[in-house]
């Protein structure tokens, strides 16, 4: 089994991609809504990722 050595950002980005696809597919009732919701979820993940990253950066002083 090949090994993956990812940074925090890469791993969280990958997590966001996979989760957003599933959330988009299973939640809404039309393809257009699913696509929108998938992108919306992905955007929320990225926002939280950068927001928490900066919060921890400033929290460390």
């Amino acid at each position: 089994m090949p090994k993956m050595n990812l940074s925090h950002f890469e791993a969280a980005f990958l997590f966001a991609v996979f989760t957003s696809v599933v959330m988009g597919v299973v939640t809404k009732r039309s393809d257009r809504d699913r696509l929108h919701y998938g992108f919306y979820t992905f955007g929320c993940f990225l926002l939280a990722l950068f927001g928490l990253g900066w919060l921890m950066y400033f929290g460390h002083g």
């Binding site: 089994m1 090949p2 996979f18 989760t19 599933v22 959330m23 597919v25 299973v26």
Partner: protein, 140 residues
């Protein structure tokens, strides 16, 4: 909104034969329920996402949970994690059959790997719930 919720609560449980094959296949093969219900596009996306997440977890050498008893938190984490791992269906069964066993080691990559393995199972539960709703006629 409240009316819609009330209407949903009043819907009778569909017969088990209508939804069980789709949900069972959805557990065994991620997205399999959708393939059975003739939603190949959504099934393929679910298969790719859940399998991709599980394989990334394996390549990051994440640990598989085993049910353990002890204090409440240990029991919750390990039993919940074990259930999450098992929900990946054939991916979990194959990895156990081929002897995948990774001890829980320190390091962010292993830690992410463990979370990827559990989350793949949890995402598959969402896919199974969606397959149930389609099979029960509550969703198109």
């Amino acid at each position: 909104m409240a009316k819609e919720k009330e209407l949903q609560q009043k819907q009778p449980m569909p017969p088990i034969g209508a939804w069980f094959p789709a949900v069972a296949l959805g557990w065994l093969v991620p997205g399999g329920g959708h393939f059975l219900l003739k939603r190949p596009g959504r099934g393929a996306l679910l298969l790719a996402s859940v399998s991709g997440m599980f394989l990334c977890g394996l390549m990051m050498q994440g640990a598989m949970f085993q049910p353990q008893s002890g204090d409440l938190l240990t029991t919750l984490i390990n039993t919940g994690g074990f259930i999450g791992d098992m929900c990946s269906g054939i991916l979990y069964l194959l990895s156990v059959c081929f002897g995948y066993s990774q001890v829980d080691t320190a390091g962010h990559v292993h830690d992410y790997g463990t979370k990827f393995l559990v989350t793949a199972g949890l995402l598959n539960i969402l896919a199974m719930a969606d397959a149930y709703e389609i099979a029960a006629g509550r969703k198109d």
